[in-house]
């Protein structure tokens, strides 16, 4: 039985019905990871023992007729910035090498409680800083659709693992597009929830005011199930929102009649022609099903990139100060303390992380705070106001997720080129909005294209509803990455 592309719902249903055991699912997944992941490089660590033990527990519960969680037996992969008790967590950085956390992230607790099985930890850019997963200190991850191309980033291990059928679903984190961009590159669904919808407790922090955990899945319905499991108030995160969690599965009505779709002109200026064409087909499909189009302007869009590259590095420079070689992770011994810090951090951090620490430290210097960090926060307010205004006239904003499809390894030769890959996804984080990327076709070369939807705060329901309609109309259907045993 080829189980690797089963949906989350399907897997859970078949296990609950006794068609297959969780242990069989896990064995099949581990076998597939062994067969395929040498090529893909998604996993940094596969927890075979832990996964088998968890699967046996699910099977025992089922045998005992105990109630099963909604994700019972569903094999998942976690981006390696999510802290896992007893399982090495590196954030794809040398500086955390060997650290075995004593606790689980909130989202990991929630997934385990729902019965999901953690297969292992997947690759990403170091500390989630990057757009191609090339900044991982450990290994490259390849795009299952074209092995010469990147899977996107920073959650590139997650998107590649989901696309290649190396897990049923994955959790990533999104600070400036790190779920949506790799989802678009790998032809999967990536959902960044509203800031505060999902607890950040146990998420290795990159930029605290922007970070959010969300699912990468092969379908919109799966994204809804995963979000259901992880969303909700957590008193351990002071930025967590104490708001009721709706039923996300019920969101997928398939009905977009009367829905007002906003098209912001600033997002349609520069992109590949094939992406433009795919977007046009997507919009047409929505109109065909009764949606209305609204032409919009989000005038402060051009300021999102500079604002982001002040806020995110500033917060990162602070968040990464704790990696000092004193209590955990890497320590390079030296005769005196200052030297120990310098050598440890010098050896432990990669070049992109160091660059952002430098930028962030500079921006926060005494006397520069007002000109940089504070100014950037004011720009955030303006960007948020743009959206508040736009959502008076529309229910969802539709844009391309990325200006290009997945690029080749080494293609972005300067940091600035790489930063521009996120130009469409940053505003969502700066404004704290929920966003989703849904596949909407392939390029002539067979590379996936993603469409991004943004909605009002806490309105993930609309994203899922519209995403479901797009998926049905212009999604990839049964098309799988070729050449990795994926063509069913």
């Amino acid at each position: 039985m080829t189980t690797q592309f089963w949906s989350v719902a399907d897997t859970a249903r078949r296990i609950a019905a006794g068609e297959i055991t969780a242990a069989q699912i896990v064995d099949a997944m581990i076998a597939r990871i062994r067969a395929v992941d040498d090529v893909i490089g998604a996993y940094l660590a596969v927890d075979e023992d832990g996964a088998r033990a968890a699967a046996e527990e699910v099977d025992r519960q089922r045998a005992a007729n105990a109630p099963l969680g909604p994700l019972a037996g569903v094999p998942i992969a976690l981006k390696d910035v999510l802290v896992t008790r007893g399982l090495a967590t590196t954030a794809a950085s040398r500086i955390l090498e060997g650290w075995i956390p004593p606790y689980d992230a909130h989202v990991v607790e929630r997934l385990r409680a729902a019965g999901a099985i953690v297969l292992g930890k997947v690759n990403c850019d170091e500390f989630a800083m990057g757009s191609s997963t090339e900044n991982s200190a450990y290994q490259p991850t390849r795009n299952p659709w074209d092995l010469s191309r990147v899977p996107g980033g920073s959650s590139g291990g997650s998107s590649a693992a989901v696309a290649a059928g190396l897990c049923a679903a994955s959790l990533g984190t999104d600070t400036g597009g790190s779920i949506r961009q790799p989802a678009a590159f790998c032809g999967v669904v990536g959902l960044k929830p509203t800031y505060g919808r999902v607890s950040r407790w146990g998420v290795v922090a990159f930029a605290s005011s922007l970070d959010q955990v969300g699912p990468l899945t092969r379908s919109v319905a799966d994204a809804a199930l995963m979000l259901q499991a992880i969303a909700g108030f957590d008193p351990r995160d002071s930025t967590s929102l104490d708001a009721a969690v709706p039923s996300y599965a019920d969101a997928m009505t398939g009905d977009v009649r009367g829905l007002r779709v906003g098209l912001p002109q600033e997002y349609f200026e520069a992109m590949d022609d094939e992406i433009r064409a795919a977007l046009r087909r997507t919009v047409a499909a929505l109109v065909e099903r009764g949606a209305e189009l609204v032409d919009l302007s989000l005038p402060h869009t051009a300021h999102a990139l500079p604002a982001y590259y002040l806020v995110a590095p500033a917060e990162a420079s602070s968040n990464l100060a704790r990696f000092d070689g004193v209590r955990y992770g890497l320590r390079v011994e030296a005769p005196d303390l200052l030297d120990m810090y310098a050598r440890t951090r010098g050896a432990g951090f990669g070049p992109e992380v160091k660059r952002r620490i430098m930028i962030g430290s500079y921006a926060l210097r005494s006397g520069y705070y007002d000109a940089y960090y504070k100014k950037a926060q004011q720009v955030r307010t303006l960007i948020k106001r743009d959206f508040d205004h736009a959502f008076q006239y529309c229910d969802v904003v539709l844009t391309p997720t990325t200006p290009t499809p997945a690029f080749a390894f080494g293609a972005k030769s300067t940091p600035m080129d790489m930063y521009l890959a996120d130009v469409f996804t940053l505003s969502c984080n700066l404004a704290g909005l929920p966003g989703i990327s849904v596949p909407c076709g392939l390029t002539g070369e067979g590379l996936p294209i993603g469409v991004q939807l943004l909605a009002r705060p806490l309105d993930e329901v609309t994203l899922l509803r519209v995403g479901g309609v797009i998926e049905a109309a212009v999604g990839l259907g049964d098309r799988r990455p070729p050449g990795i045993g994926g063509a069913a």
Partner: protein, 488 residues
């Protein structure tokens, strides 16, 4: 030190300007941002958790108990309380600072522009407080030979930092300020403020200028003044050092100096040039700290009358001397005892009750090392005893006897007087009879007094009468009648 002039001489020409920064540990059961417990003297690193250890993925959650304690101090010092204050990150690298930053408050502190009325001599002097802010304590580093040991038990303990305006004019004033603040925080029940346990720590900013000069001189920061005994010494030594340096043609450098109590001098610790740029910015993990009407209402409702107000009231309303008033307000339990006794007294016994509390009661308590809170004699009992003395039922001398017995046995003073027949004899006829007998029995002494003019013998006869009456004779009437009987 051999010097042409001592400090007093130098101060005729020079004016010291002192500002204090006092850290006070707030008496909560758990830490300011984590549920970890607080205790003094526990096994090193036993009072920690992933957050206190600064582990990746942990997030601070503000302990609301801290707010109530800090607000009490804010209100008691008539500070302006910010409706929305903010936590800020203060960055520096040190092994006992686990996150690489301390969560403190920077440009939006909880309290500003307060004052503390300090008892100096018989008067109250108002010392302005520029701010009171919240912050977390760091851990403790001890150096053992070539290695350093870090104990994080203290990391995350809640502190308030009280910063005075640079308006303190002498070391004596600084010492009194510190004692007043110490008394106030204990009075408010917000801190144990035990300096030996580091629960109250003081840094002093010291500068000097010629008297009449408006501009402030260059200041130094004196750290590690961790005992009341050292405050005056440490500051005086720094004042003298600065004046002598300037008079010798030198210049004071802006630096931090560490007070060495054993050697009685300070050593430079770091100069301003080497000092850190703390890169303050608002902590994105913590929302603004909101103080609303209901919280303030609760604080105001339960705020006790302050020591400075009672110091004033005891003198003005009860006619207590300033020395006695100062002693009474030195300890809230003592002042509360006094107030309760005064309240139990049917008239205005304030002055006399003060005498009895400060001499008899404190004497007895000190003799047995009993705290006032555990005094075996309750305030209303003491008041009843004072009434017996005041209305002449017993003499003051007998009163002390009755006090001693009542203190020891708990029997009511009136019952003791009744049972032992200790009522004062004020009946002139009865006293005349006794006097007649005493004088008649000592004819030589009577002649020596009356004829010989030996005034000292008067006391002999008073003593005789007291002995005859077992001390019950009314001393005023006795004296009056004795003069008549002896003829002068």
């Amino acid at each position: 030190m051999t010097s042409p002039r001592d400090l007093a001489g130098l101060l005729e020409e020079w004016e010291p300007v002192i500002g204090l920064e006092v850290h006070v540990q707030l008496a909560t059961a758990s830490k300011i941002f984590s549920p970890s417990a607080i205790a003094f003297g526990a096994e090193p690193n036993s009072l920690t958790d992933p957050l206190v250890m600064g582990m990746p993925g942990t997030l601070p959650v503000f302990n609301r108990a801290v707010l109530a304690l800090a607000l009490k101090l804010g209100v008691a010092t008539s500070s302006q309380i910010r409706a929305r204050s903010r936590f800020a990150r203060k960055h520096y690298f040190y092994p006992d600072l686990p996150k690489g930053y301390q969560i403190s408050q920077f440009d939006e502190p909880l309290c500003e522009n307060g004052h503390l009325d300090v008892i100096i001599g018989g008067d109250l002097k108002r010392i302005k407080l520029s701010r009171i802010h919240l912050e977390e304590d760091a851990g403790k580093t001890t150096h053992v030979g070539a290695s350093s040991h870090v104990d994080l038990n203290r990391a995350g303990v809640p502190l308030v930092e009280v910063v005075t305006a640079p308006e303190i004019g002498s070391s004596a004033e600084a010492g009194e300020f510190l004692r007043s603040l110490h008394r106030l925080v204990r009075w408010l029940d917000i801190s144990e403020a035990d300096m030996e346990k580091g629960q109250l720590r003081c840094d002093a900013n010291v500068s000097v200028r010629l008297r009449g000069e408006d501009r402030l001189g260059t200041r130094t920061e004196l750290k590690n003044i961790n005992s009341f005994r050292f405050v005056e010494n440490a500051i005086d030594s720094e004042i003298a050092r600065q004046i002598r340096l300037i008079e010798a043609g030198g210049r004071v450098t802006r630096e931090t100096r560490l007070w060495d109590a054993e050697r009685g001098q300070s050593q430079p610790m770091r100069s301003k040039e080497e000092a850190n740029d703390y890169r303050y910015f608002p902590d994105p993990d913590l929302p603004p700290l909101v103080v609303d009407g209901p919280i303030m209402g609760e604080i105001l409702k339960h705020l006790p009358e302050l020591p400075s107000a009672r110091f004033d009231r005891y003198q003005r309303i009860h006619g207590v001397s300033s020395d006695d008033a100062r002693t009474l307000v030195g300890d809230r339990a003592l002042a509360d005892y006094y107030d309760a006794a005064v309240a139990a007294h049917p008239g205005e016994g304030g002055r006399m009750i003060a005498n009895w509390v400060l001499t008899e009661l404190l004497g007895a308590l000190n003799a047995s090392d009993t705290p006032i809170a555990k005094a075996p004699m309750r305030p209303h009992t003491l008041a009843a005893l004072v009434v017996l003395v005041e209305n002449g039922t017993i003499s003051g001398k007998i009163g002390k006897e009755v006090f001693e017995e009542s203190y020891r046995t708990g029997e009511a003073p009136a019952a003791i007087v009744e049972r032992r027949g200790l009522q004062q004899i004020s009946d002139p006829a009865a006293l005349w009879e006794v006097i007649d007998r005493v004088v008649g029995a000592n004819p030589k002494q009577a002649e020596a007094y009356t004829v010989g003019g030996k005034d000292g013998l008067f006391g002999f006869f008073v003593g005789g009468v007291m002995k005859e009456t077992k001390g019950r004779a009314n001393p005023v009437i006795t004296s009056d009648l004795l003069h008549k009987r002896l003829g002068r």
